[in-house]
Symmetry: C2
């Protein structure tokens, strides 16, 4: 059961500790654009321009920053091809796919319920 | 399958539309403190002071704001008892529990993997 798993990681007894690595990774994964980039890449390998289009509304700067963090955390693989013009593909690593597997049910639920939730 | 569900909600073909209600709810749920409050309440009904302690690092202002949004979205129930001093309990609604059910596997995975991820 999830809650007991969380308990084992110090998530009970008055603590969701602010100095815990979990908080840092949570911030990366649930950042405004992090979630959307992960969801986009869960469906397909995408090039920079495709990501810019799919993740509607993201600026060049924020996309670059988001991809840097996700790459540094080992969720996203950046593959630069030595072509002219250069071609850069972004895809999920195995770790990124493991994460997406847990993220997509949440996104599905939100997508299914968003209209009702905001209609209250 | 999750991806096809998402596709049915307009998450493919170049769109994670910026004007979609899904984005608004996603912002609420994955806000810096929203996740932590939801996880805390998934384990127990908590009073204001308990939430302040469990969600370590949250300010009074941010906790109040987070609870207002989660209450307005119908995830959190606020129960004010007419005692002296007044006692206010916060708990998850059925919708909140449905959400937490999708959120906890993600949090579990992050808790299990955070050390490895940041060690890269």
């Amino acid at each position: 059961m999830k809650v007991s798993d969380l308990s084992a990681h110090g998530f009970t007894a008055g603590i969701l500790p602010s100095n815990c690595p979990t908080r840092t990774v949570l911030d990366h994964v649930t950042s405004k654009w992090g979630v959307l980039v992960l969801v986009a890449l869960s469906q397909d390998t995408l090039r920079w321009g495709e990501l810019r289009r799919v993740v509607e509304g993201v600026s060049e700067k924020m996309l670059a920053q988001t991809l840097r963090v996700l790459e540094s955390d080992g969720f996203v693989h950046r593959d630069a091809q030595p072509t002219i013009p250069p071609r850069v593909d972004y895809s999920l690593t195995q770790r990124g796919r493991d994460l997406a597997e847990r993220l997509l049910p949440l996104m599905d639920w939100i997508a299914d319920n968003a209209d009702d939730i905001l209609a209250r």
